[in-house]
Symmetry: C2
Subunit: 335 residues, 2 copies
DNA sequence: GTGTGTCATGCACACGTTTGCACAGAAAAA
DNA sequence: TTTTTCTGTGCAAACGTGTGCATGACACAC
C-alpha cells in the first residue's frame, strides 16, 4: 500500500493529472464543481503531495544543514534549540550533523549536506580544524553559509558571534561596583578568540576604574582539573583575591565550593562570577552569578540571516556580521 | 552557474545520458575507454549525482526523523549524539525536530516528517501529550516508528527504554553495602513510569536486605526548588537519613551542598547518589556518585532497531522492546 | 550468403509534479 | 449564420536519474 498520487486521483475521477494538480491548488481555470470533486476525493484518501517530486522540479528542498562541534554541551544545545524553532517557523527543515570536534567528521558532514542539496548551511567550527577547503567548497557550490560562535577566520562569509568583550567588561564592572578590587581572571589560552576577547574586557574594566592589572591574578584555568590546582593555591596566598571572574560555569561552580571549604563566605568575603549561565548556576550554593551568552537568540539570528540570504532578501554583497549582546545575570555569588 | 548533470556530460561527450549513467556506475556493458572518458570528465567538473532525482526514482530518501521533547538537556542531547553517530555510520541523514514539551508542536513535527517522506521516525513523547492520533498516523502511513525513553503507551510499536528499576536497585544496594541503613528517596510523582520504576527498585533493594520501608523517608523532590524545602527539613529531624538517593543530579548536587552546610561530612556522615551522571557530578565537592543512563548507547540502539526495520532485517511481527542497562558510577559522595 | 553471437550504445519510459500552450465546446457578439 | 470570446480541460515537456529492451556494427562459423 503506497501513498496515493495525483495520477491515481486523475484515473479514479477520469481526469488528467494536470487538471487534478490545478484543482488542488485552487486554480480558477478549473470549474468549481471539478475542484470540489477532486479535493473531496483527495482528503478522503489522505493525499499528500510528494515532496521529493516537488523538490526535483524546483531544485529546492527547503532544508538547511547545521554542523555542531558538540551537542552534549549547554551552549550549543541552546543554539540548536534557537535554530530549530526559527527554522520551523519559517518552514525549513533541519538536517543535523555533529562533528564531535573532529576535522574528518566535519569534512564528511559538509559532503553529506552538499550531497543532500541543502539550501544553506549553519556551521560552528571544530577545535581540530586547520584546513578550510571543505568550507570553501560550500561557497563554490553556491550554497549559502553562515558561521556561528566558532567562526572560521579563513573563509569570507556571514557570521554571528557573541559579544564576549562587552560581556566580560560588564561582569567585571559589576564586581568592581559591588566593592571588589583584587579580581582574579581564570581564563584560557589567548589563542582562542573568545578567551582573548574576554581577557580584554576584563583588563579594560580594570583600567576604566583605575585598578592596576596584576599578572599574578590572571591564570589559565578553564577546566575543573586545572581548578583543583589553581584555585586553592590562590586562596592560600597572602593576599587572596576578593573576586573570581571565571571563563565558564564549571570553574565558577567549583570555585564557590573551594572558597567555602577554605573558610571564606561567598559572596561577603569572595565574589564569584561564571560565564554561560548554564543550569550549573542553579545547583551551587549560593547560586552562581554568570554572563548569559544567549545562545537561543544566536541560533535564531543565524537562521534569519541564512534564510534572508537564501531568499535573496539580504543582498549586501560583503559579509554580514551580527553581534549577540550578552546579559549579566546576577545571582547569589556576588554582592 | 548550476550543478552539472548527467545530461550535460552526455552532451559534452556526445553520448546518451543512459550511457553516461552506466559508465558512472561501472556497468561492464560500457567499454573501458568510454567509462574512463566519462569518469574523468565527471571528476574534472565535480559531478555530483542529484540526490533529489534519485530519491524520486526510488521513493526512498535515506533520511530518518527524530523528535526530541527537549534538547537543552543532558540526557536527551546525549541520546541525540548517539543517534547521529550511528545514523551517519549507516549512511542515513537526520531530520531534527524539537517539540519543546508541547503537544501542538509534536503533532506538527510528525506532519513535517511525514511530508518530507522520511523512511522512519525516532520519537520521545512530550510531557503534555494526551492524544496519540499523530503517532498512529505514522504507522498508518507505513513509516517505521521507534520510541525511546518516553514511550507512548497508547501505541503498539518498537521501543527502547532505560532499565530504571535495575539502576535504582543497584544504587541503593551500593548505599546499603557501604553501611547506610536509613536511606531517603527523593523521587517524583509516581505517575511517570520512570519515577515509579525507580521507586520500586529502591523498595526492592531495601526489602532484599531486610530493611523496613519508612514512608517518612520517601518524598517528592525532583526540582531544586523543592529541594530547598525538603532537604533541610529532613536534615534537621531527630533521625536524619544516612543517605539520599535522588531522582536526578540537580537534586543530588544540591543535596551534597545542603548536607555540608548543615555540618555533615559527605560521604562519612551522609552519602548522596544522583541519577543521570551528567557533568553536574564533576563540579560538586565531593564529586557526585550517580547512575549513568547511557543515553549515547540508547540512541545507537534505537537507530539500529529502526534501520533494521526499514531495511527489513528485523522481521519480527510483534513489537521489539530493548532495555538499556544502567551503570552505577561511584564517585566521591558515597563511601 | 546466411545465421549466430558478442559488444557498445541509444531509445523510451518511469518516478510525481507543474505549467505553457493547444484545443474543443459553448456562449456571446456581429 | 458566422465570427469572436470565454471556459474548462488535456497534451506534452520538464526536473535528473536508472533500466529493460531494441538496435546496429562487427566477427565468426557454417
Amino acid at each position: 500500500m503506497r501513498q496515493i498520487t495525483l495520477k491515481d486521483i486523475a484515473k479514479a475521477l477520469d481526469l488528467s493529472p494536470s487538471t487534478v494538480s490545478r484543482a488542488m491548488r485552487n486554480n480558477p481555470a478549473i470549474s468549481m464543481e471539478t475542484r470540489e470533486r477532486v479535493q473531496e476525493y483527495a482528503t478522503k484518501h489522505k493525499y499528500k503531495p510528494n515532496a521529493l517530486a516537488l523538490q526535483l522540479r524546483t531544485n529546492r528542498n527547503n532544508t538547511i544543514g547545521v554542523i555542531v562541534p558538540e551537542i552534549v554541551h549547554y551552549f550549543f544545545s541552546t543554539v540548536l534549540a534557537g535554530i530549530q524553532d526559527e527554522a520551523e517557523k519559517k518552514n525549513y527543515n533541519l538536517l543535523f550533523c555533529h562533528s564531535n570536534e573532529d576535522y574528518e567528521r566535519e569534512v564528511k558532514s559538509v559532503e553529506t549536506l552538499l550531497d543532500a542539496r541543502v539550501c544553506g548551511i549553519l556551521a560552528s567550527q571544530s577545535k581540530t580544524t586547520r584546513q578550510f577547503d571543505h568550507f570553501q567548497e560550500i561557497i563554490d557550490n553556491n550554497v549559502h553559509l553562515v558561521f556561528f560562535d566558532r567562526i572560521c577566520t579563513g573563509i569570507n562569509t556571514d557570521k554571528v558571534v557573541v559579544d564576549d568583550y562587552a560581556g566580560a567588561l560588564n561582569a567585571v564592572e559589576h564586581l568592581i561596583m559591588t566593592g571588589c578590587k583584587r579580581i582574579a581572571f581564570l581564563g584560557a589560552t589567548s589563542l582562542l578568540p573568545i578567551a582573548n576577547n574576554r581577557r580584554m574586557g576584563y583588563e579594560d574594566a580594570l583600567r576604566k576604574h583605575k585598578i592596576s592589572i596584576d599578572a599574578n591574578l590572571m591564570r589559565v584555568c578553564d577546566t575543573v582539573e586545572l581548578a583543583k590546582v589553581v584555585i586553592p593555591e590562590m586562596l592560600q596566598s597572602d593576599h587572596p583575591p576578593e573576586a573570581f571572574f571565571c571563563i565558564n560555569d564549571e570553574v565558577g561552580a567549583y570555585c564557590t565550593r573551594m572558597a567555602a571549604l577554605a573558610g571564606f563566605h561567598v559572596p561577603d568575603d569572595i565574589s564569584v562570577c561564571g560565564f554561560t549561565n548554564s543550569y550549573l548556576t542553579e545547583v551551587t550554593h549560593p547560586t552562581l552569578t554568570s554572563v548569559d551568552q544567549r545562545g537561543y537568540e544566536m541560533g535564531k539570528v543565524a537562521v534569519q540571516l541564512l534564510i534572508n540570504r537564501i531568499e535573496g532578501r539580504e543582498t549586501k554583497p560583503g559579509i554580514v556580521s551580527r553581534l549577540i549582546k550578552t546579559e549579566l545575570v546576577v545571582k547569589g555569588s556576588t554582592r
